[in-house]
Symmetry: C2
Subunit: 341 residues, 2 copies
Amino acid sequence: MERTEIADIGEFGLIDHLASPNETKNAGTLVSIGDDAAVIDHFGKQTVVSTDMLLEGVHFDLMYTPLKHLGYKSVAVNLSDIYAMNATPTHITVAIGVTNRFSVEALDEFYEGVYAACEKYNVDLVGGDTCTSLKGFVISITAIGEVNTDQFVTRSGARKSDLICVSGNLGAAYLGLQLLEREKKIFLESPSVQPDLQQKSYIVGRILKPEPRADIVDWLHENSIMPTSMIDISDGLSSELLHICKQSKVGCVLYEDKIPVHDETKEMSLEFNLDPTSCALSGGEDYELLFTISQTDYERVAHHKDLSVIGYITDWEEGAVLESRQGKKHLLTAQGWNAFR
Amino acid sequence: MERTEIADIGEFGLIDHLASPNETKNAGTLVSIGDDAAVIDHFGKQTVVSTDMLLEGVHFDLMYTPLKHLGYKSVAVNLSDIYAMNATPTHITVAIGVTNRFSVEALDEFYEGVYAACEKYNVDLVGGDTCTSLKGFVISITAIGEVNTDQFVTRSGARKSDLICVSGNLGAAYLGLQLLEREKKIFLESPSVQPDLQQKSYIVGRILKPEPRADIVDWLHENSIMPTSMIDISDGLSSELLHICKQSKVGCVLYEDKIPVHDETKEMSLEFNLDPTSCALSGGEDYELLFTISQTDYERVAHHKDLSVIGYITDWEEGAVLESRQGKKHLLTAQGWNAFR
């Protein structure tokens, strides 16, 4: 029998492959597999649904991830997918698998984080599943949201000459992770050396406690700006922008000098001998919003202190291009994360 | 720091404990944690949501579970929770974690089963997550359904003198599992002996490919019978009936001789030296529907060939009682499954 390794087709290849026999049977299914979330037309208004799974040793390391933060983050990353549809999350379900090394008190800490995120984002935890796991802590969360009729924003609506915008700054979470991994290694070698992460609280906070950009979605709504496409940055700017280009069948020009990077991220990337732009392009886990707008919305977006216009959309034939500080053009590639390698 | 073992409070105790700080913030949240599924009022009509997690080595053994069956069953058990709310499933999301021992072809088989169940129950797969797992196959499915306004049925509406009904027959899946476990043991000891399961295809089918009782929900609907309470049987009749009693604050009398048990189940239980009634009470994984109806609906239910009236509801003070064939009364206990022991 034939055997194709998952690593050979990659995560996105695998999703495409597995989704290929999928046929939509219900007329109410407006957006299915292949976007940040699905959109279901329920009785005239629209429901948005997204699921994420987090596995110990793959997505998180309990050695440096406090359980409360983990609970908070598990919810946050799911809500981020709902916001990325221009929708408002309303409900979540949480399924967990735990080994018997977990005490009830440990789970309480995890759920404290879950409830804190629910509280902050006004979301109800309405169900879930609790089961025993033979190895590792397993978390699966589904978020449900709502959006006004036809106000949802997919990855496929970007048009030529639209402007590319991003919220916040990029690459910080990746460097926070590098720092935690380094401190873990030092600690394992010499347990008496306690890491001092106070000086790097920004980047550490970005990896341990990301916040979905509800504020940006609210602001867009208040200002009647409807992005032409939108996605949240979980795998890195390159990878997400390529998703928008592929699904919208467009090209893009991205200006290196416009990509927002926090000072602490820059400092830390120098310390690690990494290029800050590469960290922003391929780092991932920023959970910022990447979206495109019509040029007529430029003025208002340009004045928002936490939004950056970082490029524009071109024809598909022109490809996805990064223009460096020196004015050189590079083809954008998704070096991103291939979880199966 | 205090340490409470999860095993000390049990699965249901754990769920109660973790859910206790949960506060409902959205007026649209009609049913939250503690039923087969949550009910959300979305714009006047109602959405039903349920999540289940299945872990290799805990919920299934790939040695005797074909991947296609596993895919089918993973969907079926989730749909069963939606039907148990008197609702119709419409959409699912599927999140999986796989190790690199899985090939793309193996996942194709799993998804063949997923799609087959979607096809049969007219449900759309609308999203999910695919990630790498360090150990074991992890499956988490969320099902979403819809129900006409205020037609959903919870576990808490049973009233004194209501009749207790169950669909199909009970205990078969449990004996199918015992058989597969025995054949696995024989095979591991002498690999040349191939098991012959043809003679036991009914009970093996019940554990490997359960079908949610969509037909019963449809029939109830067509006959305008609205159960007063309903639950699906995943942990065994005792455990589920005690859920109804506890949440409805009622007692019950269950007649041993009325509990439907298939002939193959009876034969097999004798072969294993097990009491068929105990298998029906505590076996689990039947995915039949257990519900209560008003006495006025008795005639129609009694004539349905695949429904059995097995007892009636009493006052809370009278407790949950099993009346044996010999007319002896026993207190019903949930010996069921404590996954954490």
